[in-house]
């Protein structure tokens, strides 16, 4: 099975800080990592390869420095890497990103399965995976918590619908975005890292794309306009209740009703 995994480089720290004056996300250029949710996708891909053979390719869009997440995927067991990088791709929203990546995937060769993480820790939209499948005109299932069976024609998976778990069959080629904890991601291997040290990575620029349409990439291709970024307000108002368990339960219940939480 040939699998392509979409990955992204995100800020290394989980504590994103927004400059309250300029509204710009404070980024430390040196401190980056692979989007933690993508680790589950890479792990899933490598396990499928270990079980049924084939090849795992990873693809990302970003600055040339995003090479580090490709190398990290090699150290986890990926075989091939692609980076979509061009000034023209900068400022892309989910739509332009999905379009650009779908173009890159068309250049990455034959595939049976595309795997994505659930969402990223910096954008948090969880939309890029499904949108890529639209551009590639292939079926897609999101929130996959388990792969039940790897068939010749497709996969049987469990999909988390929040109120129910649905068992689905999806035909190849397809896109699956996997949920957190589908498998515990392995740690990158030093041995694999050394072995893949000189491995070539395929850089794809705007000029290489099969469909060169500037209105579909980068800021030009992004209908989403960011008006303002601000840190979420933090409410640290606290109230301490005392009394017997019964009294406190009553107080909490009244409070919740007053505030229309229940």
């Amino acid at each position: 099975m040939n699998i392509i995994v979409c990955i992204k480089q995100v800020p290394g720290s989980n504590k994103a800080e927004v400059d309250p004056v300029t509204g710009v996300l404070k980024r430390d250029g040196n401190d980056t990592k692979m989007n933690p949710y993508d680790l589950y996708a890479v792990e899933t891909a490598v396990r499928l390869k270990e079980q049924s053979g084939g090849k795992v390719s990873v693809i990302t869009m970003g600055p040339p420095s995003a090479e580090s997440v490709i190398r990290e995927a090699f150290a986890m067991g990926a075989d091939e890497g692609f980076i979509l990088t061009d000034r023209k791709f900068a400022g892309a929203d989910v739509l332009a990103t999905s379009y650009t990546i779908s173009q890159g995937i068309k250049m990455a060769g034959e595939y049976d399965l595309i795997l994505c993480g659930k969402q990223t820790t910096d954008g948090d939209t969880a939309q890029v995976g499904p949108e890529i499948s639209e551009y590639l005109n292939i079926p897609c299932i999101a929130n996959v918590t388990s792969i039940e069976e790897i068939g010749d024609k497709g996969l049987t998976v469990l999909m988390d619908m929040q109120t129910a778990i649905e068992k689905c069959f999806i035909e190849y080629p397809c896109l699956v975005s996997v949920d957190k904890d589908i498998f515990l991601p392995r740690l990158p291997s030093y041995v694999k890292m050394k072995a893949s040290k000189d491995q070539k990575i395929n850089f794809i620029t705007y000029e290489d794309l099969p469909d060169k349409d500037e209105t579909k990439v980068g800021l030009n291709g992004s209908p989403t306009k960011v008006q303002r970024i601000f840190p979420p307000s933090v409410n640290d108002k606290r109230e301490l209740f005392s009394g017997t368990a019964e009294e406190m339960t009553e107080t909490v219940l009244t409070k919740l009703k007053e505030n229309k939480f229940i």
Binding site: N30, K33, A75, L184, R186, Y190
Partner: protein, 465 residues
């Protein structure tokens, strides 16, 4: 020395001193928790508990106890393992956990002044938020700083940064007669007579009550990377450690662990460990200012491990990955505890190039005495945590086999030039072994020092000496 029998009037007098009936407990009000520590091998209920909030209160309570010859035992979080905070002679337990505030962060002198009841995890979080680093890192993060100082706890970063003692600059202490003294201070150097501050560090509450601690800080390293290194056998893993040390690389931590203990922790935590390939593992941690700098530090170490039979070297360089390996490591004590009916511990420390011998010896005596023994610990600094497990043994059989195993282990430590305790202390439970392992004169000097500080022997009597 005989102590005054604690009476209701003593309680009333303590209540007058503290003037808050929620902070002076007597009789039925005393929670069972106050009668033991985390390991629970030593039991004794105090006559009264005082939850102190200020140095003045501690001083007043000590003066009262001194005048009336009532034993006083100081207690932090009660996470000790040798019964040091258990009031074996009854009397008053002085609960310091309410004195838990940061008093000052001095960025010019790189010190922080805290009250002794502050928890290690609170201290670590506080200084890190401010860009500083308090290197001592004992596994039990809910221990208090006062407790850490009292046992001179070491922890995982001792390989590179040393132990708690190396970070105590000054102490405010209350002597058994109630007198308040400031020892040491914010000074970096000090050649002014005997170092009494350092006598207090590691004295397990026998000499004075610590009420304020001035601790040394360092700048926070920007980045850390841990290596999880699977080996086919514990022997192969542990044999590699001296070679790592000899390579002059300075990891902050070198820990070893066995598959079986990892499995216990998976059951205990309900989370999976990120690798299953090895029967034993080393975990190494490096710190520095960038990924590149750290990579250059561990490159040679990784090669050494691979040359010595490591199956791979796995890299943990993000918070999520660190959590997946260090959280299990932090849970080992509790995990092993939950895998058996009862256990006792040995915390010996040997010169670090001898650690493989001790680990091998544990396996041998486990076979020989027919008792389950599990170990893990700080391979990089020679300090082992060995747990002897009761499982289904009868009480008499357990007592017999456990004592036999302990005797052999302490003898081995002595033979290898080691010590009875690396960081857990002596307290009540390890007294006998300390006395056997130490020179007579050494013990006499300790008793002499105790008598100078505490002529009436009211502070934590029945411990160490």
């Amino acid at each position: 020395m005989s102590y005054k029998a604690f009476e209701k009037t003593d309680y009333e007098n303590l209540l007058k001193i503290i003037n808050d009936d929620e902070r002076v407990l007597y009789g039925e009000e005393i929670n069972e928790e106050y009668s033991h520590d985390e390991l629970g091998g030593t039991h004794s209920v105090p006559d009264a508990v005082v939850k102190a909030l200020t140095t003045e209160e501690v001083s007043a309570v000590m003066k009262y106890a001194y005048d009336n010859v009532i034993p006083v035992t100081v207690r932090g979080s009660g996470t000790g393992l040798v019964g040091a905070c258990v009031p074996v002679m009854g009397g008053i337990v002085l609960d310091m956990s309410g004195m838990n505030k940061v008093l000052e962060l001095d960025e010019e002198n790189l010190t922080i002044t805290v009250e002794p009841g502050m928890l290690l995890m609170e201290l670590a979080a506080y200084v890190e938020e401010n860009g500083f680093f308090y290197p001592p890192d004992p596994g039990e993060k809910t221990a208090t700083i006062g407790g850490n100082i009292s046992t001179n706890a070491g922890g995982m970063r001792a390989v590179k940064y040393g132990v708690t003692r190396d970070y105590v600059r000054g102490l405010t202490v209350v002597l058994p007669n109630g007198e308040v003294l400031n020892l040491g201070g914010k000074v970096v150097k000090n050649s002014s007579g005997f170092d009494l501050k350092n006598l207090i560090v590691g004295s397990e509450g026998l000499l004075a009550v610590i009420t304020k601690c001035v601790l040394k800080l360092m700048p926070l390293p920007k980045k850390t990377v841990s290596l999880l290194i699977p080996f086919k056998s514990l022997h192969a893993a542990i044999e590699t450690v001296p070679k790592i040390i000899r390579s002059k690389a300075i990891p902050t931590a070198v820990e070893f662990m066995e598959r079986e203990v990892i499995k216990d922790s998976e059951t205990y935590l309900g989370t999976a460990f990120p690798d299953k390939s090895g029967d034993a593992y080393l975990i190494l941690k490096f710190d520095g200012n960038s990924k590149q700098e750290i990579e250059s530090l561990y490159d040679n170490v990784a090669s050494i491990c691979l040359e010595n039979g490591a199956m791979d070297v796995l890299i943990s360089d993000t918070d999520e990955r660190d959590e997946s390996i260090w959280k299990p490591r932090g849970s080992f004590l509790e995990a092993i505890k939950s895998s058996t009916t009862y256990m006792d511990e040995v915390d010996i420390v040997v010169p670090r190039n001898r650690i493989a011998e001790v680990v091998k010896y544990c396996m041998e005596i486990s076979e020989q005495i027919k008792i389950r023994i599990k170990s893990f610990g700080h391979a990089g600094d020679g300090n082992l945590h060995i747990y002897i497990l009761k499982d289904d043994l009868s009480d008499t059989e357990w007592e017999k086999r456990m004592k036999a195993a302990m005797k052999l282990l302490y003898e081995k430590a002595r033979e290898l030039g080691g010590k009875v305790s690396g960081e857990h202390g002596i307290g009540f439970a390890k007294r006998e072994y300390l006395h056997e392992s130490s020179h007579k004169t050494e013990m006499e000097l300790m008793r002499g020092i105790k008598a100078v500080f505490d002529p009436k022997n009211i502070l934590n009597p029945g411990k160490i000496v």
